[in-house]
């Protein structure tokens, strides 16, 4: 049973800058909520931002049902996200949630590889935390340009084995996530691959998963107007026709995509 979608006035409890252009927002709902899963997103109203008309979607990083809070990882990409990162604790943030289809949760003894790039790391951390697997069976591979672009993941380290790549070699393996030996050489040790990040990264991962016949789900990003399936703007051209990224996705199995 899915939780009903609502338009909610959240209280911003905390806005923490994580690095140069990433912020973590902690939002508290006035009402209890339940059953939010990795891959789902929240569509946030941006108030008083010049030339911003539509809401901005962000994937959910974490939830705390007891405290009625949702954490978001907000990366500055344009006017809307920038304005949101300037919000101060105590402000009201209006958002529509929960939106979209989540990743398929793994089976009890699956070995899973979670690959995050950029702000796509958010649902991967959320998945590592709630998947309920033995941490020995969870590998989290995170890529970024440089060490300063990586966010601090120390509170998630106990949920799996964490690996990093940077394009300049300043942290972990040098190169892209697809250059990491766990991906380029040891992919077959995994039962399921989940990924969220830049499209080119996900395509490279998805194609290799298809080649190796490994279950793989990706979380797509498209520009959206509504976020709940009425405007039909954010479509992905899939094997079964145009699908809305906001309601049919954002999570898709790579076998359904024209990759």
């Amino acid at each position: 049973m899915c939780m009903k979608k609502t338009v909610t006035n959240f209280l911003l409890l905390e806005n923490k800058q994580l690095n140069n252009d990433n912020f973590r927002l902690l939002l508290q709902s006035p009402n209890p909520f339940s059953d939010i899963f990795p891959g789902q997103f929240i569509n946030v109203e941006i108030k008083e931002a010049k030339e911003v008309f539509l809401r901005r979607p962000f994937s959910i990083l974490d939830v705390n049902y007891n405290q009625r809070t949702i954490s978001l990882l907000v990366k500055i990409l344009g006017r809307g996200s920038k304005k949101l990162t300037e919000s101060a604790a105590g402000q009201t943030i209006n958002a529509i949630f929960p939106l979209g289809q989540s990743f398929t949760l793994p089976d009890k003894f699956d070995r899973i590889l979670l690959i995050g790039g950029g702000s796509g790391v958010a649902p991967m951390l959320f998945m590592a935390k709630i998947c309920g697997l033995d941490p020995a069976n969870v590998t989290v591979l995170i890529g970024a340009r440089s060490v300063s672009d990586h966010i601090d993941v120390s509170e998630y380290l106990s949920f799996g084995q964490f690996l990093f790549t940077t394009e300049d070699g300043s942290l972990g393996e040098k190169g892209y996530v697809t250059n990491h030996p766990v991906f380029s050489e040891r992919l077959n040790q995994y039962d399921k691959i989940y990924t969220c990040g830049p499209n080119l990264m996900m395509k490279a991962i998805g194609r290799k998963a298809i080649e190796n016949n490994i279950f793989c789900e990706v979380s797509l990003e498209n520009s959206m107007a509504c976020g709940f399936g009425v405007c039909l703007c954010c479509v992905e051209d899939t094997k079964t026709g145009h699908k809305c990224v906001c309601t049919d996705g954002p999570v898709f199995n790579v076998n359904d995509l024209k990759w």
Binding site: K4, K5, T6, V7, E45, E51, V52, F53, L54, R55, N94, I96, N222, S223, M224, A225, C226, G227, F228, G229, V230, C231, L232, C233, C234, V235, E236, D237, G241, H242, T247
Partner: protein, 303 residues
């Protein structure tokens, strides 16, 4: 208690607030956010005779105070509507209106004949103003002769309330309104989106896959209001106004300009609870101004 009821032709609406086609799906998509039976009406997604995939991505560009879309009437066709959608919405206690599209006059007629069979669809909105399809659509709505031809043909087969949705991309919208009134339209709804365009200066490429698209949102409200007023003064049939309505005040302005009812569209993307807020806001306005019936507001512009 104020009276919000209005009539379009012989069809009664419990209040003058409808959701616009292409912004509320088939109702179920927004049912989490509101009790749909509170609406005056629900104009469902543009429907065609056959399944349409719509245009390629990207289909949307945000603009100052609005957005461009180039969806291109993506829908699963009328058979799917009748078999899979209609049974689930037919018992809603609101007027469900189907937005009807075609590439040829014959398409419009064939589709209308199918909808004639559905007891709980009391009206259709004939869309001769979609700017995002290659054939038909807006082409029918930009000349009096072609608008007359399609309305005449549909009127022959359609027995219930016939609303014709007009394009603002014309020299004189009042002339088109008079032309469709002359062929038996029971009402006109306006405005559909304005043809617009967005360019990415870095890549020198259009933002939309179709290069041009339809502009909606508050950016177009003054134009819509002007056109509603012009059409209201030109025809005797009721006018349904839309274009950038974001709140009750906007809606009341359209009623004052001459609209008997309004449609809320792009605002739903921003906040799907806005249509209900507008209904409540119109009530409050009437109480505050001691207005008994919403009909007293319609066309009450004092120049």
């Amino acid at each position: 208690m104020v009276n919000l009821g209005i009539k379009i032709h012989e069809l009664e609406f419990k209040n003058p607030v409808l959701t616009a086609s292409g912004t509320c799906g088939f109702g179920k998509e927004i049912a989490d956010f509101m009790d749909l039976s509170l609406l005056g009406g629900l104009v469902v997604k543009g429907t065609t005779l056959k399944h349409r995939e719509g245009n390629a991505y990207p289909r949307m560009a945000e603009t100052p105070s609005g957005m461009l879309n180039a969806v291109g009437l993506q829908n699963k066709g009328v058979d799917n509507f009748i078999t899979n959608i209609y049974p689930g919405i037919k018992d809603l206690d609101t007027n469900i209106i189907v937005n009807v599209n075609g590439s040829t006059v014959e398409d419009y007629v064939a589709l209308t004949e199918r909808l004639n069979e559905l007891d709980r669809i009391p009206a259709i909105e004939l869309n001769i103003s979609c700017p995002n399809v290659k054939e038909g659509g807006m082409a029918f709505g930009i000349s009096c002769a072609s608008a007359e031809a399609v309305v005449k043909a549909v009127r022959k087969v359609y027995r219930k309330t016939l609303i014709v949705k007009l394009s603002p991309n014309v020299t004189d919208i009042a002339e088109i309104a008079k032309a469709v009134e002359g062929q038996g339209a029971d009402s006109v709804s306006l405005i559909n989106t304005l043809l617009g365009m967005a360019i990415n200066a870095e890549t020198r490429k259009p933002v939309l896959s179709t290069i041009t698209g339809g502009l909606s949102g508050p950016a177009i409200k003054p134009i819509a209001l002007r056109m509603v007023w012009q059409v209201f003064n030109a025809v005797k049939i009721p006018v349904i106004g839309m274009g950038g309505i974001m709140n009750a005040t906007d809606a009341i302005e359209f009623l004052i300009a001459g609209a008997s009812a309004v449609q809320v569209g792009t605002a739903i993307f921003i906040d799907p609870t806005i249509p209900i807020q507008i209904i409540d806001g119109i009530s409050s306005y009437m109480e505050c101004h001691k207005i008994q019936s919403v009909n007293e507001i319609i066309g009450s512009l004092q120049c």
